[in-house]
Every structure is written in structure tokens, then in C-alpha cells.
């Protein structure tokens, strides 16, 4: 569920554009105004604002934001203002570049988006980068990571709820076999996680637990230093319990010495309109402290205020 709060009645888009223009005008920038507008508009509304701003002032809103804002606040606002498909394409592209490479982000995008959303991200990738997502992922990853990530980003899973229990039993057995043999990169293991529908994967993993006693992630924890196992476990989590996966990302980002703003920004910007409410609840359950309190403790200034706006924090 979304944590975004949008004012009722909604101000006309021309007003929003005028206010934003005022926020950029003159010396300095009125960040509060920017947060009060962009931090409280949904994707369709933001798209309209961008369009209208460009028509009215002859400039892409994102360019203005890039010029006027800085650091973490800028990144959050810019990422937030992008259309979700463009945002995913941008994050994925960043994740294939050398200094910002992240197998985890690629897997996260591939596994937590719906099949349709992943498809739209691939289309946005074509438009923005003039190549295909799988082309870049294949080029920039190697070995088992490549064998896992390319099918993940190329998947177009069936999105129905139908589940075949016989198949679930058979594939749980295959998973268990390969894991027992420590054949973590085996093509059967990968094909089950990368091609089956999410409903089917969930059924298979439930059966795994029933039949073999352990959660599959417990069995995949044999070597805590093995990065491939780490990403496999994260894949499983993204496919079965995304809110738990994102809670962990947030927890690690906040607890880290100095905070991992990159991860914090990414999770809030990409999930605010999707399931931030569940992630927030999970965070409180797991850490005994509400997410907004943790964010206030760990971040400052406009960056903090924008994060709070997006997670639906209401000033007391």
C-alpha cells in the first residue's frame, strides 16, 4: 500500500508548475515548496506536471531540479520525479556501470516489479539508452551471476494465480537436490527461480519447507561470505516476501556507519507508491522503532524532510 499523501482537492497543474518555477527563482531554492508539491503527487500527477512545466517554460523539470538541488536531496527528488519505468531503467543502467555496479539492484528490479512493470522498464531502457537491458547485463556480469541475472531481467512471468501442486512437489525436490550437492548455479535451480510464475515459486518453496523441514534460505546460508548465495537468498526473498526484503535493506542502510543514502533513497523512491506501508509496518515490528523515527535520527535537512513526506509522516 502506498504511503503517499495527496491533498484534496488537488491544486490545478498550472498552479503546481508556477509554484515550482517560483521555488527555483532568484537566489537559492525554496526546497520546502518543492517538497510540499512533488512530495505529495502520484506518478500520473507528476507526469502531468513535467509535461505542463516543459510546455509552459520550455525546460524539462528534471533539468531544473538537477541545476537547483544538490546531493542526497537532489537524487531523491529527481528519482522520485521520474516515471516509474524510467526510474527502473535509470537504476538498472547505473547498476551495470563499473563504479556503481550492483548485482543486487538488478535482481531487486527484476524480482520485485510485476511482469508488466519489468517489461515497461525494458522499453524505457531501449528509449533512453539505445540498447537492451539484457545486452548490458550480459556484458557486465560474469559466471554464475550472469547465468542468474540475464534470465531474471529477461523474464516475462505468467501472472496468474494458478498453481500446479504436482509440479511444486517435483521442483521442490530438484531444488533440494541441487542445494544438497552445493550446485547453487545449476541451470535447473536457476530456471525454477527465473522462469516460473511467482505463485508457482511460492507454492514450490512452501512445499520445500513442508517436505524438507527448513526454509530454503536457511539451506542457502552455508557460507555467509559467498556472494552468490547472498544474491540467491535475496532473490528468494524478493519473490516471496518483498516487504521483508526491503525492510532488511532499509535496516542495513540506516544502521550502517554513516547511513547508506543510496539504498535508503532507492527503497523509498521506488516503493512509496507500491508497498511502503507494509515495509514500514515490518520495519517497526522488526526494530521496535517506527521508520520515521529511525529516519529522523539518521538523516538531516531537506533530504530527511522529503523522505518523511514520501513515507506518509505527518507532523505532530
Amino acid at each position: 500500500m502506498s504511503t503517499l499523501t495527496v491533498p484534496q482537492p488537488l491544486p490545478p497543474v498550472a498552479d503546481d508548475c508556477e509554484q515550482l518555477r517560483k521555488a527555483f527563482a532568484g537566489w537559492g531554492t525554496n526546497e520546502k515548496l518543492i517538497i510540499s508539491i512533488l512530495g505529495h503527487r502520484n506518478a500520473a500527477q507528476r507526469k502531468l506536471i513535467r509535461q505542463t512545466y516543459a510546455e509552459t517554460y520550455g525546460e524539462d523539470l528534471l533539468k531544473a531540479l538537477d541545476r537547483e538541488l544538490t546531493n542526497d536531496f537532489e537524487r531523491l527528488v529527481v528519482l522520485w520525479s521520474l516515471d516509474p519505468a524510467e526510474r527502473d531503467a535509470y537504476l538498472a543502467n547505473e547498476a551495470t556501470k563499473r563504479w556503481t555496479s550492483s548485482n543486487q539492484v538488478l535482481m531487486e528490479i527484476a524480482c520485485t516489479r510485476s511482469p508488466q512493470q519489468l517489461l515497461m522498464a525494458r522499453q524505457a531502457y531501449h528509449a533512453r539508452y539505445k540498447k537492451s537491458l539484457e545486452e548490458d547485463v550480459a556484458h557486465h556480469t560474469t559466471g554464475d551471476f550472469c547465468k542468474l541475472l540475464v534470465p531474471l531481467v529477461s523474464s516475462y512471468r505468467y501472472d496468474g494465480d494458478e498453481v500446479n501442486m504436482t509440479l511444486a512437489k517435483a521442483e521442490a525436490k530438484i531444488l533440494h537436490e541441487k542445494i544438497s550437492e552445493k550446485a547453487y548455479g545449476h541451470e535447473d535451480l536457476i530456471r525454477i527461480l527465473a522462469t516460473r510464475s511467482k505463485a508457482q515459486v511460492n507454492a514450490t518453496l512452501n512445499h520445500y519447507k513442508n517436505e524438507f523441514g527448513n526454509d530454503i534460505n536457511k539451506d542457502l546460508k552455508t557460507d555467509p561470505k559467498d556472494e552468490f548465495l547472498t544474491i540467491l537468498r535475496a532473490t528468494v526473498k524478493c519473490l516471496t516476501r518483498p516487504e521483508k526484503y526491503f525492510e532488511k535493506v532499509l535496516r542495513l542502510a540506516i544502521n550502517k556507519r554513516g547511513t547508506d543514502e543510496g539504498a535508503l533513497t532507492r527503497v523509498v523512491a521506488t516503493r512509496a507508491e507500491v508497498d511502503m506501508k507494509f515495509i514500514s509496518e515490518e520495519y517497526q515490528r522488526r526494530n521496535s522503532i517506527p521508520l520515521d523515527r529511525a529516519i529522523v535520527k539518521d538523516t538531516t535537512g531537506d533530504y530527511e524532510k522529503m523522505l518523511l513526506a514520501l513515507i506518509g509522516h505527518v507532523e505532530a
Binding site: L119, R122, Q123, H126, Y129, K130, K131, S132, L133, E134, E135, A138, H139, C146, V150, P151, S154, S155, Y156, R157, Y158, D159, G160, E162, E187, R191, A194, T195, R196, S197
Partner: protein, 329 residues
């Protein structure tokens, strides 16, 4: 033929015998090749007297066998084959009327069901359709079969070709005019090195990466550059790996690929799945590049595709195919 008593001559008997054997020949031809010649069947068999039909049965040992209880009996296998030939027109019409997405989804499903001998159809669909068409086929596959094409390919195909086929059906290639990274020469060199090293190409990650993720425009440039640096064509050098060869042909030289498939399909002793290709190729390419295929066919085999179809196909099926090819005129 009304015969006045007393007017029969020796010549008349000979003419009658020749007319009978002509008719027998026409009937046999009406049942042979691709499809059936409905008009001849109606004209000859339809109006025939019982003795004519008996002569037909006696004169056609490959259709009828002498039974021990003194009658000529249809060969069961032959009836099965005939059923197929009668259905050819129906299948072509149904396939033609279908939405292209449903068509491709069904073709891929059938290929998976038929097994490794038909996997070239998977490669054909995945590589000769545009990115949007392949995407559409994947959508249709969801609706028709409640699975994704990649999950079915991954679970039914075994061995080294699995990785190639899954990647091919999952591809969403960039189709813009100027790809950002124009490193065709480097990619061609990479492939050449793998081929020279003698290692198994279907297992090679780089070869798979290049063929399954790069844009078609770039791959055509790779094909050209490969020719320049090695002196031979890439698909010829991949002869020992038929899947890779088919992949390269479909991606880089589709008209040649289709011409070859059609040539095999039009052979007299073509087997069931090879023969099916005639309908499949004409129907799926009629709106795309059937004219170019016709020209390439002529270049390769010295005879127009339309002439070959005229000679080997029959009846409504033949007329339908020729009409589809002529559509673009």
C-alpha cells in the same frame, strides 16, 4: 461414351485404354504432393462407375492391398496420410486468419510438443519476428497456455541448447537505427576466436551473449565483419552446431533461411514436420517478406518458388498459397 453396336474398332479400344490410364494417373496425382486436387477428385472419381473405381483400386497397389477375402482394401497408413493432405488447406486458412501473436504462440507450443526435431521453429519464431511481435507472442502464450514461454522451454528442453533457446525466446532486442555501442568488429573477432579454438560453441558464454542479446542491426554488421576477417560466412563455419547455425541464419540472412526451409518442404519424400513448413513459412511471411524470399529462392535454386509450388501442390491448398504470395503485387 455411347458405343453403337458393330462400330467398335481396334483404335477405339486403344484410346479407351489410354483414357483410362490417363485418368488413373490424374487421380493418383490428385492424391500426391501437398494438399489434394479437389476438382479432379470430383470430376474423375465423383462421376466414375463401379468398374472404373475397381480399376483404380487394382491399379494402385500403394493405396489398396489385395485382401485374402477377395477385395481390395485401403491401406490404413495411406488413409492417415490422406487425412493430413485433406487438412492442409484447412490448416492454412485457420493459421492465416489467426492473430499473429496467437499464431506464433501456437507454433512455439507445437514445436515444444513435437520435440528436438522441431526446435528450429522456436529459433525461427524468436529470431525472425520483430521485438514487439515476439513480445506479443509471449503475451498470447500466457493467455493460451497459462505459462510463460520461457518456463516451458526451460523445462522441456535439455542439454546445451536449453540456455540458447531460453535466451532467444526471452530477448527484447533494441531496434533503433543507430546502436550506442558499435563494436561489431570486436564481437566478430570474439566469435572467430571461439570457432578457431575448437571448443563447443553452444556452451560458450560469449557466443550466446552476442547472439541472444545484441540488436539485429549490429548482428548483421557482425556477419559482414566476420566475412571480412575470416573469408567465410559465419553460418557456414557454424555448420557443426545446427542450432547456432539456424540462429545466425534467421537473424542475419532470413530470406536464405526461409528459402532453404521451403526447398526441403517441397521435396517429394519430405517427412511430416518438414512438409508443415510450407504452410508455416508462406502464412507467416505473406505480410512481411515473401516476395524477397521468392527472389532469393530463384537465385538459390534456379526456379521460382511459385513455379515449384505450382508443380508440387494441389487444389485449393495450392491456390491459397499462390494467392498469399501474389498478395503483395
Amino acid at each position: 461414351m455411347i458405343i453403337k453396336p458393330g462400330t467398335r474398332k481396334r483404335g477405339d479400344d486403344r484410346d479407351e485404354a489410354m483414357a483410362q490410364s490417363d485418368e488413373l494417373e490424374a487421380l493418383t496425382k490428385a492424391f500426391s504432393g501437398h494438399g489434394v486436387d479437389e476438382t479432379t477428385l470430383i470430376a474423375v472419381l465423383g462421376k466414375s462407375h463401379p468398374e472404373k473405381r475397381k480399376a483404380f483400386r487394382k491399379g494402385n497397389p500403394q493405396f489398396f492391398k489385395e485382401d485374402e477375402r477377395s477385395f481390395e482394401r485401403w491401406d490404413d497408413h495411406r488413409i492417415k496420410l490422406l487425412k493430413r493432405e485433406f487438412s492442409r488447406f484447412k490448416n492454412a486458412v485457420v493459421l492465416w486468419a489467426m492473430h499473429p501473436w496467437e499464431r506464433d504462440a501456437r507454433l512455439m507450443k507445437e514445436a515444444l510438443k513435437d520435440g528436438p526435431d522441431s526446435y528450429n521453429v522456436l529459433i525461427e519464431v524468436a529470431c525472425t519476428r520483430s521485438s514487439e511481435e515476439l513480445l506479443g507472442a509471449r503475451r498470447a502464450y500466457h493467455s493460451l497456455f497459462e505459462h510463460s514461454i520461457e518456463e516451458d522451454v526451460a523445462s522441456h528442453v535439455h542439454g546445451p541448447e536449453r540456455r540458447l533457446l531460453v535466451a532467444l525466446v526471452s530477448a527484447y532486442r533494441y531496434e533503433g537505427t543507430k546502436p550506442k555501442e558499435d563494436n561489431a568488429k570486436a564481437e566478430a573477432k570474439t566469435i572467430l576466436n571461439v570457432i578457431k579454438s575448437g571448443e563447443k560453441k553452444t556452451d560458450n558464454e560469449e557466443v550466446i551473449r552476442i547472439l541472444t542479446t545484441r540488436s539485429k542491426l549490429l548482428l548483421k554488421a557482425v556477419y559482414k565483419d566476420y566475412q571480412e576477417i575470416s573469408g567465410s560466412n559465419l553460418d557456414e563455419d557454424l555448420k557443426s552446431d545446427s542450432r547456432l547455425q539456424e540462429t545466425v541464419q534467421c537473424l542475419c540472412t532470413p530470406e536464405r533461411y526461409f528459402s532453404q526451409v521451403l526447398d526441403l518442404a517441397l521435396e517429394i519424400d519430405a517427412d511430416k514436420s518438414t512438409k508443415k513448413a510450407l504452410t508455416r513459412v508462406i502464412v507467416t511471411r505473406a505480410d512481411v517478406d515473401v516476395k524477397e524470399i521468392d527472389e532469393e529462392f530463384n537465385k538459390m535454386y534456379g526456379v521460382r518458388l511459385t513455379k515449384k509450388i505450382e508443380d508440387t501442390a494441389n487444389g485449393n491448398y495450392k491456390d491459397f498459397l499462390l494467392r498469399l504470395i501474389a498478395k503483395g503485387d
